[in-house]
């Protein structure tokens, strides 16, 4: 405590990695989350650094009994920027073996050599993964498999049929007749995709991939959103589950883009709410398992493969479906439920699977947490805020 | 101009507590009037009612015959020197003193002159630019006084103004009050628990107790004719004797105490209820001078050396005692010896026993 070394440290040309360590120990303001538990280098334990919603808590014990691998789970905070920063410049690769990241950053991480390709031959259950999930565009880089889809689903519009009749287009969000009665999410990662899908499919605008817009496409989409915002089209932009539910439950809006569970919650509260199947398609999103380079260096690659195979083995899918309504994209879930009807109801598992499959039977634009022009996305989002 | 104050059956109740309980008083214009009593007797509450900082629960207060009900403190021709002073800590001495005049619209030279004059009056000439927080206790006292006097009030209220000052300063400020009263001619009302202050300054004094007035009189009357046992004790007449009988002849009488007959001055007003005999120790004579005077022969109980004199406690046959002072150089009277005590005229006064502590 006698010497405070920050000024020295800042002046010298320290390795970025050292600086991140400094940051992790000193400055809580960095919003990097708490220090992760140290990964044990013992057999059959793997350090899993993932979005918090992938955690099944006490149920990992049962998972480990079945699959022979126990995870040390650490929340990664979900936002991809800080996650990549800790991989690129921080000690994340020293601490963790396996990532469970929002889809989109895989190619960039692969390019920088921060993650290693999977050997799908060592993941027998991968074969059971539904084809459209295997086709998620950013799972592969230079022909190698970098992401294994762990959780998938697709979002569209929550709406009130008693007010609007049947809704089958994102056009409802931009309909001037509903001025002040609609909302979108307070995040470009969702709202820009929805607007792009609408412009591409229903207004025939020149847009390629709604999840990865070029500079020109992004300008088009964001100007469109800015115009509607200026017109007072949106009641608000919402954040988080409670706010989303409240908007619907207290009749603040008649339609908004958002997550399907809000529909279920609304119905639970006696409201007539539906989830639209838009002609423009759904916004698909995935959370994918990636193999961190550190795991390969430490010889943990085989354990990691075994663990991911376990994630696709059925039990995990049943548990995640039951606890959060999330979909692990494989029929193994149903098989497991049928073998263990005392644990999970096969009917419910099938219902969820069929429902999600149906969403993906039509058009889908994949949400991308790290579009090529992500800096411009952020900048445009500020412009939208300040318009 | 001095203002006369009428207090007509005024009460102030705080819940069940009667802080002021049916008080009636007439204070003459230009009088130096003192409300004297121990803490909690209601004297400060009565002062607040006069100043307009509180309203009576019942009764009427008039200034020169004009009812003051509903007139707030800031519109009464009254100024106050508060206990604790209440100097404005963010202002200089001159700003403090000039505060009230500024509110009256005075500015510039007129204001400055009046402030300077007031400061001179309280012997603080040249103190104007000073920080009030850095003055001594006596100086602060004078600033408060100047601040009130500069308003040329018809009535000046002084609420325990000398509390907290050391003895020298008290003496000095006391003289100051007397001088200023003569200078300004205003009606001064002083609230104090200090008998010396009250006696030396006042034209008249009201002794208060438990929200009521026990006696209103000129200072020496409290000794010549205390209204009752409470007042007698309050002013320092400790010897209060219970007589067996009192024979009355006009305004003179003979009281019998433990078989001994003493001449007593009777109360001018007819006494109803029980009475006691107050004995003024300053009118008792012992030794050679005692023989020609009427009096009693008592037994010495104890004697206590007091420096310039010696207090000798003497007992009647029934155990009631009085204390007489004898010169310190006189022989110490032996305990148990008999001693003749002579009584000058007016040494014993028959008074109401109201306020007499239970014999014990």
């Amino acid at each position: 405590m006698t010497k405070w070394k920050v000024p020295d440290a800042l002046r010298s040309n320290l390795q970025r990695r050292d600086m991140l360590k400094l940051m992790g120990s000193g400055a809580a303001a960095m919003a990097m989350g708490g220090l992760p538990r140290m990964a044990m280098a013992q057999d059959a334990t793997i350090a899993f650094w993932a979005t918090a919603t992938l955690d099944i808590g006490d149920k990992w014990q049962q998972f480990a009994e079945q699959e022979g691998v126990m995870p040390e789970f650490t929340d990664n905070g979900n936002d991809v920027g800080p996650v990549v920063a800790r991989l690129a410049a921080g000690n994340a690769n020293d601490l963790f073996d396996l990532g469970g990241f929002q889809g989109g950053a895989e190619r960039e991480l692969a390019r920088q050599g921060l993650i290693a390709p999977w050997d799908v031959s060592k993941i027998p259950n991968y074969e059971s993964v539904w084809q459209w999930a295997k086709d998620i565009p950013y799972l592969t880089h230079e022909g190698k498999q970098y992401g294994i889809p762990t959780v998938v689903n697709a979002d569209s519009i929550i709406y009130r049929p008693d007010k609007l009749g049947k809704v089958d287009s994102y056009g409802v969000i931009f309909d001037p007749k509903l001025k002040g009665r609609v909302a979108m999410e307070d995040a470009w990662i969702n709202s820009a995709v929805f607007a792009a899908m609408y412009l591409k499919e229903s207004e025939n605008q020149p847009i390629g991939d709604p999840g990865n817009l070029t500079e020109a496409e992004l300008g088009l989409v964001m100007e469109f959103l800015i115009k509607h915002k200026r017109d007072g089209q949106f009641r608000t932009f919402w954040n988080g589950w409670e706010q989303g539910v409240q908007l619907v439950a207290d009749e603040e809006v008649d339609a908004m883009t958002g997550w399907e569970p809000i529909v279920y919650e609304g119905r639970k509260r006696g409201l007539q709410v539906e989830y639209a199947a838009p002609v423009e398609g759904y916004e698909g999103w995935g959370n994918n398992a990636v193999l961190l380079n550190g795991a390969v260096e430490r010889g943990m690659a085989d354990v990691a493969h075994k663990f991911v195979n376990g994630l696709l083995g059925g039990f995990y899918g049943c548990e995640l479906g039951k606890s959060r309504g999330y979909m692990v994209p494989t029929d193994k879930n149903l098989a497991y439920a049928e073998e263990h009807p005392d644990e999970y109801s096969p009917e419910e598992v099938k219902l969820l699977a069929d429902h999600v499959k149906a969403k993906f039977s039509g058009k889908v634009a994949w949400q991308n947490c790290r579009p090529d022009n992500f800096q411009l996305y952020e900048e445009w989002w500020q412009k939208l805020r300040n318009a | 101009m001095a203002i006369a104050i009428g207090i007509d059956n005024v009460s102030r109740h705080f819940g069940p507590l009667r802080a002021v309980d049916g008080v009636s008083l007439d204070i003459k214009a230009g009088e130096f009037f003192t409300l004297l009593g121990s803490s909690g007797c209601g004297k400060s509450t009565l002062l607040k009612l006069i100043g307009g900082f509180d309203a009576p629960s019942a009764g009427r207060i008039t200034f020169d015959g004009k009812d003051m009900a509903g007139i707030p403190a800031n519109r009464r021709p009254v100024n106050t020197v508060f206990q604790g002073l209440g100097l404005f800590p963010h202002m200089t001495v001159a700003q403090n003193v000039g505060y009230g005049l500024r509110l009256r619209g005075l500015r510039g030279k007129v204001l400055d002159d009046k402030v300077a004059e007031a400061l001179e009056l309280v012997q603080l000439a040249g103190f104007g630019p000073r920080d009030v927080n850095l003055l001594s206790g006596g100086q602060r006292q004078r600033v408060a006084l100047a601040r009130a006097l500069v308003m040329e009030p018809g009535i000046l209220l002084l609420d325990e103004p000398l509390t907290g000052l050391d003895e020298g300063l008290r003496q000095q400020m006391r003289d100051e009050f007397g001088r200023l009263h003569k200078r300004t001619g205003a009606t001064f009302i002083l609230v104090t628990h200090n008998q010396d202050e009250a006696l030396s300054l006042s034209d008249r004094i009201a002794v208060m107790h438990a929200g009521r007035i026990e006696q209103v009189d000129q200072p020496q009357r409290f000794f010549d004719q205390p209204a009752n046992a409470f007042v007698a004790r309050f002013v320092g007449i400790e010897a209060l004797l219970r007589p067996e009988t009192v024979e009355r002849h006009g305004d003179e009488g003979i009281a019998t105490i433990a078989g001994q007959k003493l001449p007593v001055k009777l109360a001018t007003t007819a006494q109803s209820g029980s009475t006691v005999i107050a004995v003024r120790s300053d009118r008792l004579v012992v030794g050679d001078g005692a023989a020609p005077l009427p009096g009693a022969t008592l037994t010495v109980v104890e004697s206590v050396f007091r420096g310039l004199h010696r207090d000798v406690k003497l007992a009647f046959a029934d155990g009631q005692t009085i204390v007489v002072a004898i010169p310190a150089d006189r022989d110490i009277p032996a305990v148990g010896a008999a001693m003749k005590v002579g009584m000058k005229p007016g040494a014993a006064i028959e008074i109401s026993s109201s306020g007499m502590p239970e014999a014990g």
Binding site: G81, F237, D250, E252, E378, R385 | -
Partner: protein
């Protein structure tokens, strides 16, 4: 008893070190890193001097957010003072001791719930089907819900004032507690009516409390995000929301540059205020 210099040093050293480590060190990091370059591919900074962070503030209307944040903070602080001053007056000079304690306790109640819940509950009060709109329609003042009550600057201001009012009230209660009520009586005695007493005596004597309350609310609002996110209209922003956006893409130099500017404004405000109003006076024992 006189403490030796080494004892004093021992007593002061730990708190001082804590202040340095917990307070100043991160601030220094924020300021220094705001001048470094950012590599978008790694989302990480490089120790090369760069003003890109500051340049980016001039783009996309980011500077207008800083400006509007300061305006919001100013307005909220002033509204809080207007409400807090009479409250503090009542607590200090009008209420009985027991009532004063009860009132102060009531004022602390908002601290028992999180900002999240407090802000959220305003949505239920001000919304289309909320208490206010229901009442207005029931009594026939309006026939349809008033939309601007919620998801508007009005709603944000209501939320901010409700959240941070105690931060204005408590310094004022503290400041007024230091004013001898005799001083107020003396002013009245000398002819001052209520408003004159307020203007010439109470306000000057409580100015340090006024400024402390102003500063607390101002700083809290400048650092707030919940109220704007929950109660503001579409895309409503404030500095903290903007920083959150920037941190999502881990653009540290930009986030730190924004922080540095806001810090500089607040620091300037503290210095000016202390110089003008004598904030330190709040902690002084004045002879009186």
């Amino acid at each position: 008893m006189k403490a030796s210099p080494s004892t004093i040093f021992g007593l002061v050293f730990l708190p001082l070190a804590a202040i340095l480590v917990l307070g100043l060190a991160p601030l220094a990091v924020v300021v220094v890193w705001s001048f470094w370059a950012w590599d978008p591919s790694t989302y990480w900074i490089k120790p090369d001097f760069s003003l890109a962070g500051y340049a980016a503030i001039l783009e996309a209307g980011r500077w207008t957010v800083i400006l509007s944040t300061l305006v919001k903070a100013l307005l909220a602080a002033l509204i809080c003072l207007v409400i807090a001053y009479p409250t503090a007056y009542a607590v200090t000079f009008l209420a009985s001791r027991r009532l004063a304690v009860v009132l102060l306790a009531l004022m602390t109640i908002p601290f028992f719930t999180s900002y999240l819940i407090r802000s959220f509950s305003w949505r239920l009060v001000l919304g289309r089907t909320g208490v206010v709109n229901t009442f207005l329609q029931d009594v026939g003042l309006t026939s349809a819900p008033i939309d601007w009550l919620l998801f508007s600057d009005f709603a944000v201001m209501v939320g901010l004032v409700a959240s941070y009012l105690p931060f204005a009230t408590f310094p004022l209660v503290l400041a007024m507690g230091r004013v001898d009520s005799i001083v107020l009586s003396a002013a009245r005695d000398l002819g001052a009516g209520f408003w004159t007493v307020l203007r010439t005596i109470l306000l000057p004597l409580t100015l340090s409390g006024v400024f402390a309350g102003f500063l607390f609310v101002f700083v809290m609002v400048a650092g707030s995000s919940t109220e704007v996110q929950m109660l503001g209209g579409a895309g409503a922003s404030i500095v903290s929301v903007m920083i959150n956006d920037v941190m999502r893409v881990a653009n540290y130099p930009l986030a730190f540059a924004i922080s540095t500017i806001v810090l500089a404004v607040i620091l300037g405000l503290v210095l000016i205020g202390n110089w003008t109003f004598g904030l330190a006076r709040l902690f002084e024992d004045r002879a009186q």
